[in-house]
């Protein structure tokens, strides 16, 4: 029971972190139609920039400055790269972001090398806030939780209470109409891209110290962010939130419980072969839930796309 509570908290942290990435991506995706493959690369840039800044000015300045730099870089890439490619259509746009992801990873390796960076949480947060049945909950985790909540609330406020937010929301559902209404759509695009990438940057800054700051961190997270927004449904912030939490909890719980396929098979009436090494199905018999935990989201996505192509909360086809 205690472990369930701990897992709920852990899953929440993972889920909200994922949400910071998927929120920006769903905005970009639904407004501009761009499957931004480089989104997770901005998350990586956030972590590396923050690490570099933290060497000179400490963690907190990194938290403040790094996302801004990432956002500016994102806006710049939109302005001088993506906008140019936009005229050629969606596939070239996608290849552009694909190549961009590759290039960013290479540049990061060129500048910082290929090793893990010793990027750690600030001293002030390096203590155990409380324990549940022997399971320590580090203060930094709760800090991550508060940060992501804060950003979610701020985002919700901007989108529902401000004029810019209204335009963006309208653009999510009716991208063509908004253009027709005379809004400066390129500027909105650039702004959304900048803010979206900055959000990814924030995620990188706060996740870097716990999940590791290394050149593979973008690739590790890259496709799962797509999976999240597709499951949630395009253009739906709530969908992104729900899907993020869902994936956070699914992966956490799947990793936590050693449900073995053998038990399930025996329970439904199959007989375990005496000599597993000779059986053609030996891999099935030895399968456990933690083994397949991280690929469950993909399975979920395929099933959702086959039976409900617009995702959980989406109104139009992805």
């Amino acid at each position: 029971m205690d472990l369930i509570l701990v897992n709920l908290i852990d899953g929440l942290v993972t889920g909200l972190l994922l949400f910071m990435l998927s929120a920006g991506l769903t905005l970009i995706f639904s407004m501009m139609g761009v499957l931004n493959f480089a989104h997770a690369s901005f998350y990586m840039l956030g972590a590396y920039f923050a690490y570099q800044i933290s060497l000179f000015m400490g963690f907190w300045m990194g938290l403040l400055i790094a996302p801004v730099i990432v956002g500016l870089a994102g806006a710049g890439i939109e302005r001088y790269g993506l906008r140019r490619v936009h005229q050629y259509g969606h596939v070239p746009e996608l290849i552009f972001t694909f190549g961009l992801a590759l290039l960013i990873e290479e540049i990061v390796q060129f500048i910082w090398g290929k090793n893990q960076m010793p990027y750690s949480p600030p001293e002030i947060l390096q203590f155990t806030l409380f324990s549940i049945a022997g399971n320590a909950i580090p203060a930094y985790k709760i800090f991550m939780l508060c940060m992501s909540m804060g950003i979610f609330i701020a985002l919700l406020y901007v989108l529902t209470r401000t004029r810019v937010g209204m335009v963006i929301q309208a653009a999510l559902s009716y991208p063509k109409t908004v253009e027709a209404l005379g809004h400066n759509v390129p500027l909105v695009f650039m702004g959304v891209f900048g803010v979206g990438t900055a959000l990814a940057g924030v995620a990188g800054v706060i996740a870097g110290p716990v999940l590791g700051t290394f050149p593979g961190m973008a690739f590790l997270l890259g496709s799962i962010v797509f999976v999240t927004i597709v499951i949630g449904g395009l253009g739906s912030l709530w969908g992104a939130l729900v899907a993020s939490l869902l994936i956070g909890w699914i992966t956490t719980f799947a990793a936590s419980y050693n449900v073995a396929m053998a038990d399930i098979l025996v329970a439904v009436g199959f007989e375990k072969p005496a000599d597993l090494s000779e059986s053609a199905l030996r891999d099935l018999w030895s399968l456990t839930l933690p083994q397949i935990g991280p690929i469950l989201p993909y399975l979920l996505m395929v099933l959702i796309l086959v039976f409900r192509p617009y995702g959980l909360f989406g109104k139009r086809d992805v």
Binding site: L35, G81, R84, V85, Q87, Y88, V91, P92, L94, I95, F96, F98, G99, L100, L102, L103, E105, E106, I107, Q109, F110, S223, F226, V227, V230, L234, A280, L281, R282, D283, L287, Q291, I292, P294, I295, Y298, L299, M301, V302, L305, V306, P309, D317, V318
Partner: protein, 430 residues
């Protein structure tokens, strides 16, 4: 945007077989047959084998992307599956001494790829666009993940290996040497390329183009977009499987890397780099990419940086890929104006190339400066050895690079003007 129109146009020669349509095939065949006489080393042949396999794979991929407008993020699984089945067949045939000659093995690989494509395509081709793309990503990831879990079939991390020299010699050939395998691959390359080319000329191939451009209109012409996509998908899976079978013969080992997303991503990049708008585009892409990854990686550790930059530059400035660049010149060539371009091209692209090489040199020098061993300050670049820690080479390279780019910029208007002249007939405005 004249370029846009030209590059996206589907080339469709009329009438039956003419010398003009057959000529590229004849030339390719002759070149493929005689090239091993020029490059006799095993490594060159190995690289050419790799190229040929990649060409088949890329052409098969372009049946989807270029001709059918379907973007797949997990296409490696069809080639990989074909390869795994082939290598299992090799082992099975060896264990039971069955009379299966090696040269027909790729066909079995193809059928395996086809079977998987039928299975996956039955639900993934219902929609095009993002739904298809994301399903392909999901399925690709699932099967790639299975490859380390289902050890019985995929062999885990070390993969499954076999020995291609199992059987009776076919016409006295035992496939001991790379060169023998080369000719086997060339045979299958020509056959598959020809079949894929002909496929694009069949009703279903033509309708694949129509469905790519406008699925709704195609539906109102009596064709179900879904079935057209499904048939293209299956055909693509079949040829991917053939590539997989050849991979099994050439490398005699299949591993998890044949299925993973890296492989799927690179075939997308290869195809796009070559140009999706033309049948021969992926061929160029496969050749260039194989050279980059084998030859450039021998020269520098930073090759992936350059490849990444190349892709970005290509997609920004040449969205039609390398084939698009070549075909851009076709109108001028037909009008006999190509010579007008030669001078301006030399004047612009020579400094441009120098500038790019200069930039690369600066990157290499920075890298060397930061990572070289102490006392090991000498580096060799473009057949020149110098000290990367002294100021002079830096000044020199910076100056040359800057001058080269300045010259490029200065000569650019002239080239653009020449381009317009070369592409306009007297009295005809574009």
């Amino acid at each position: 945007m004249n370029r846009q129109a030209v590059q996206n146009q589907t080339t469709a020669p009329q009438g039956g077989v003419t010398l003009a349509t057959a000529l590229p095939w004849i030339i390719s065949t002759i070149v493929l047959l005689f090239i091993p006489l020029v490059f006799t080393s095993n490594s060159a042949i190995t690289i050419m084998n790799q190229m040929a396999i990649t060409i088949i794979f890329a052409l098969a991929y372009n049946m989807l992307l270029g001709q059918g407008g379907m973007l797949s993020f997990g296409h490696a699984i069809y080639m990989g599956f074909g390869g795994f089945v082939s290598v299992h067949v090799i082992n099975y045939v060896e264990d039971y001494s069955l009379p299966l000659p090696l040269p027909v093995l790729p066909l079995l690989g193809g059928l395996a790829g086809l079977a998987l494509a039928i299975l996956i395509g039955s639900f993934s081709t219902r929609k095009a666009g993002t739904v298809f793309a994301m399903i392909s990503l999901g399925v690709g990831e699932l099967i790639a993940a299975c490859s380390v879990i289902i050890v019985v079939f995929f062999g885990g991390e070390e993969g499954v290996s076999g020995d291609r020299t199992y059987g009776l010699p076919v016409f006295g050939i035992e496939f001991l040497q790379q060169i023998e395998v080369y000719y086997l691959i060339v045979f299958w390359l020509l056959l598959s390329a020809l079949l894929m080319y002909l496929f694009s000329r069949t009703p279903v191939g033509r309708m694949a183009n129509a469905v790519r451009d406008n699925p709704e209109r195609a539906e109102f012409l009596g064709y179900s977009a879904r079935w057209v996509r499904f048939f293209s998908f299956c055909a693509s899976g079949f040829f991917c499987g053939i590539a997989g079978g050849l991979f099994a013969i050439n490398y005699e080992i299949l591993t998890e890397e044949n299925l993973n997303l890296v492989q799927s991503g690179s075939i997308l990049l290869i195809t796009f780099l070559g140009g999706v708008g033309f049948f021969f585009g992926p061929i160029i892409g496969a050749i260039v990419f194989t050279l980059l990854s084998t030859v450039l990686s021998l020269q520098t550790d930073l090759w992936q940086l350059y490849v990444g930059a190349l892709f970005l530059a290509a997609v920004m400035y040449f969205p039609g890929g390398l084939a698009g660049v070549i075909m851009m010149h076709w109108p001028a060539f037909k009008m006999g104006n190509i010579r007008l371009l030669i001078g301006p091209y030399i004047k612009t692209f020579t400094p441009c190339l120098v500038g790019i090489l200069g930039t690369a040199a600066l990157i290499e020098m920075t890298f060397h400066f930061r990572h070289a061993a102490i006392g090991d300050e000498e580096m060799t670049l473009f057949w020149t050895t110098f000290n990367s820690h002294s100021v002079l080479p830096w000044l020199l390279v910076v100056a040359v690079t800057a001058a080269a780019f300045w010259l490029t910029r200065r000569n650019l208007p002239e080239m653009v003007a020449a381009w317009h002249t070369a592409n306009s007939l007297p009295g005809v405005s574009k």
